[in-house]
């Protein structure tokens, strides 16, 4: 199992520092939560890991390999799956087709073999379809395979998004707010799912989520971002007690010092 390691990542958009000297490590087999107020850089961080952004500084490694400069499909092929926050499905295609696309890295049929209708294309299709249907049932989609993804209820579309990421059989799953906008009982179903993704499928999960009770309940480790910087990193209980975290969320100063300075010093002392 591979460790995901971010080392001193900096990402700038013009004058804005989206990520500032950010380091953290996702251990295999854990649910690792990435939290922070809006605009803290959580999604930018995901985009750096999945190769949609390349950082100005620092490195991302997965296992022994430096993946900082790889493109998204190369990172996906190494076993890093991603579910998007704003559902990124093909609305007109069926649920099954939406899930099958994630098998891309596991399948081979190209333009020529598919046009010719070679038997191996059909076998591959059938084999992977069965597995994808299992995954759909696993996330609680039931038998809605033939429905266009766009016709499903919001909660089900979120589940398709999750199922699609799982369908790529990742080793590490990047989950961007899987329960956002869901009613409480559905949120807890998703929380339960995330835990079983870790326990039953053995997949490491890097989770961005705003719902604190959920994060505190299911995360093994929490990294807190504010203004692109890491202001805390530890177990849920440790993080909850951190004055910087309380300040970042409640907006009050943690003491005589400015929160920014405190956070910066803390990060520096931890990384050195």
């Amino acid at each position: 199992m591979n460790v995901l390691r971010l080392q001193r990542i900096s990402l700038r958009f013009g004058g804005v520092r989206a990520l500032d000297d950010l380091s953290f490590t996702v251990e295999p087999g854990t649910v690792h939560a990435l939290i922070g107020p809006n605009g803290a850089g959580k999604s930018s961080c995901f985009n750096v890991i999945s190769g949609h952004y390349h950082p100005d500084d620092g490195s991302v490694s997965f296992g022994d390999e430096d993946i900082t400069q790889l493109s998204p499909h190369q990172i996906a092929r190494r076993g890093v799956g991603r579910a998007f926050q704003n559902i990124a499905l093909s609305a007109h295609e069926t649920v099954l087709d939406n899930l099958m696309v994630a098998r891309h890295r596991l399948t081979r049929s190209g333009f020529v073999a598919t046009s010719l209708g070679l038997p191996r294309v059909r076998h591959e299709e059938r084999r992977h379809r069965e597995r994808v249907m299992e995954i759909a049932r696993f996330v609680g989609l039931g038998e809605k395979f033939d429905r266009p993804a766009g016709a499903l209820a919001y909660g089900d579309r979120k589940r398709v998004e999750l199922a699609r990421a799982l369908s790529s059989e990742p080793e590490l799953l990047l989950l961007d707010e899987p329960a956002a906008g869901m009613p409480t009982h559905e949120k807890w179903e998703i929380a339960h799912l995330v835990v079983s993704v870790r326990d039953a499928l053995g997949i490491s999960v890097l989770l961005v989520e705003h719902d604190m009770p959920m994060v505190m309940a299911i995360a093994d480790r929490v990294t807190v971002l504010d203004f692109g910087r890491r202001i805390a990193d530890g177990t849920p209980t440790e993080v909850q007690r951190s004055p910087e975290v309380i300040a970042a969320y409640l907006g009050s100063s943690p003491g005589p010092e400015e929160p920014e300075n405190a956070a910066a010093r803390r990060t520096r002392s931890e990384t050195s």
């Binding site: 998007f84 696309v101 994630a102 098998r103 333009f111 038998e143 033939d146 039953a200």
Partner: protein
Amino acid sequence: MSETATDLLPGEPKPARRPVLNTSGRVERLRKIALWLSLLPLAAVPLYLDGSWLIIGILGMATAIGAIGLTLLVGTAGQLSLAHSFFVAVGAYAYAYAAGDPAGGGVEGLGLPSALAALIAIVASGLAGLLFSPVSARLKGVYLGVASLALVFIGDHVLKNATPVTGGYNGREVAPLSVGGFELSGGSPDLWVLGVPYGGRERLWYLALAVLVLAVVAASRIARNRPGRALQLMRDNPAAAGSMGVPVQRYKAAVFTYSSVFAGTAGVLTALAFEFIVPQYFTLELSISYLTMTIIGGLGSVAGAVAGGLFVTALPLLLERFTGSLGFLAAPGSGGLDAAMLSRFAFGALLVLVLICEPGGLAVLSRRLRRRS
């Protein structure tokens, strides 16, 4: 494979095999059989219609093949191209050049066996599409459409000025296609079927029909399977496609190349049908009418592209034939409202109508009608 490596929850009951898709699979199979049976009357058409009617169908089928390629590119992959006429021209001229008589008056030729020439022509248009991949892989949607315009202008210039190969403004003759001495688009040797003489057009009808069927089958497979799903997600959300392991740039180049192979095939058949090709045919206007076909038929629908291709090609030709009996149509070239003009108006009106009322085109319309009945 990795799917066995990560088994699901141990207590989970094993799901039944394909419970939902089983029934729709049977319906699908029946539909497929019905489709194949519907080819039988089409195969009998040359027994009843003469060459002047057949040519309309042949050109329609040839164009439909090109339209299928374009609907995959524009509809399935969301990549606009205005260069389709360029690749049709590459197919047509490459065939004429490769199969042309080296000793022909004025224009050169390689004098290759015509079946080989046809193959070379199709490969050549694919290669032309591949050569454009530095552009087609990097640009998306409308921007690719604008960039592809360059090819139309380059093509136009080459066709008119590379006189030894293309015959310049005057065009060049196209040798008939023959396999083992039997002409598939000419009259030799003599052939009679049920008392009907089978000349060039009767034979070409079958060739066009066979190639059209192949094109439909191949393109539907692409659309339904792994490449098509990747293209659809690339169209709907390129970032997500990347994260699902789809090499987006390579797929953009691949679908562009694939569609140019269809265009080249359409070019070869069109050249065989015309027997003589001139640069004035392969213009931007041809690209636009290919786009018109795919939009009227419903973007991304293979069946729609066929319907659109047949309709857009056949309407002006049919109107022209009936100019005499349709009192309001002026003779072509007389300056009045002639068949070509009227059909252009009709296409314009239809385009607007489709885009406003039914962006899914004929494909969605027919599906809706079928569901209602």
